[in-house]
Symmetry: C2
Subunit: 267 residues, 2 copies
């Protein structure tokens, strides 16, 4: 059973994991240095703990204790209990969904382990926005993808905002970070996947056509801004596009990935 | 040619249209009362002006003047020129994309005018989040929908955030607000549309099956939280679902609407 620790001072050093949650740069350093990540909201906290991540601590206002009693019962980690005003002072924002947990990151599995047995794999190059990473993981998991691989510079799927937008899909969808950017796609081809890059390139064919009849597929998505790198675009086995009305800006990456996942999963 | 007016004081009363842009409640009242809306960013400002909305004024830092010179040339409205620090003081946030414009809302067209000749129409019930409204308009426009109708309580498509996320799709996609909530869907059925409600209801069929072979379709989307009202769910001609993997939270509304628009547009 988690030990309930009442907190009366926002400066309490035991709350270090929860400081300044809106300061992305500070959080990146702090979380990497301490090997931790934060889960926010009752449902997501529950999924993180059920996903087997060791808990460093919880932080919540008293009214969230009952709903998470069964989760708190599974660990000896401290649970810091404080007023919502104090929680806001520590974290720097109003914690709408009440509960927070700080959990221990685990070593990422090797690529071979993540793709073993997978038939549909998402591959994200340099997605910059954490909410897009979360949205893509959620769409992939919901629509039947088996795993996700992310490029060395893709935004962190375990960042608080990614997890929250993804509703914890990052805990259920097997994933890892690719160690090598340059040969990432040829390596997947060698492993039996047809790599299909979503792009507006001239030789792109409609996505339904690109994936029709394929067995193992790796669906490759690029950055929100400039799309895929030339290297990835050219080293993919196929280039595919979502047919769109002329004169309209392309879909945003979350919408495009949802459509592409849907079509690919139903190939 | 717009008259360039240099501003040296954040309290200048001529900047009233641009105050406190992050205060949603205040903005709703101010914009309704004065019949205005704001466009943000060079591309979106340009599209609003090209869309024929009369300009009340522009507000921007000097470095944005050149890029918008052709747009400024089309109107006699004042263009308030000020430092970025002063712009931030007025608006309450850092204006990443530089230019803002305040434009005049036009009377919304009658429903009959908006749906005349349309084959695929989006119908939004009570979408609460402005970014979702923008994302749905953008997906609909990109994937070939002809028009959008929004329920009396749906969030405002001309709110700054809706426009920005939608990349100005609200200026190109014909739309209006439905005057009547209760009989909105039967009225569309009477006009020859098959109304297809996206829902997790027990009798929902896969979306591809629901729209197959249909001529005029109205695709009906509900609120982010609780989905469609029982009245709309039951008064739709058909109920449809995006097939998803068991145990995963449903797609978020922007992802689900992109998939549903894609499938419906290709029926």
């Amino acid at each position: 059973m988690a030990e309930l620790v009442e907190i009366a001072d926002a400066g309490d050093p035991r709350l270090a994991d929860y400081r300044d949650l809106r300061d992305v740069q500070l959080r990146k350093h702090l979380e990497a240095e301490h090997g931790l990540f934060l889960a926010e909201g009752e449902k997501v906290v529950r999924r993180a703990v059920e996903g087997g991540f060791p808990v460093r601590s919880f932080l919540m206002a008293p009214r969230w204790l009952d709903g998470l009693a069964d989760v708190l019962a599974t660990t000896d980690a401290p649970c810091y209990v404080l007023s919502e005003a104090l929680a806001e002072e520590v974290t720097g924002f109003h914690v709408h969904r009440g509960a927070l947990a700080s959990l221990v990151r685990r070593p990422l599995p090797p690529v071979a382990e993540v793709i073993a047995g997978a038939r549909s794999v998402l591959v994200l190059e340099d997605i910059v926005d954490h909410t897009n990473v979360g949205a893509i993981f959620r769409s992939g998991a919901a629509l039947g993808f088996d795993a996700a691989l992310i490029a060395p510079r893709c935004a962190d799927p375990l960042y608080r905002r990614s997890i929250k937008v993804g509703m914890g899909a990052v805990f259920s969808l097997p994933w890892t970070r690719l160690p090598d950017w340059h040969d990432a796609l040829p390596t997947l081809s060698d492993a039996g996947f047809t790599t299909v890059a979503l792009t507006l390139a001239d030789d792109a064919v409609p996505i339904e056509e690109a994936v029709a009849g394929l067995d193992k597929v790796a669906l490759v998505l690029g950055s929100e801004g400039h799309g895929l790198s030339p290297r990835w675009e050219q080293s993919a086995d196929r280039r595919a596009v979502i047919p769109m009305k002329a004169g309209i800006d392309s879909l945003n990456v979350a919408a495009a990935s949802a459509v592409a996942c849907y079509v690919t999963a139903r190939r």
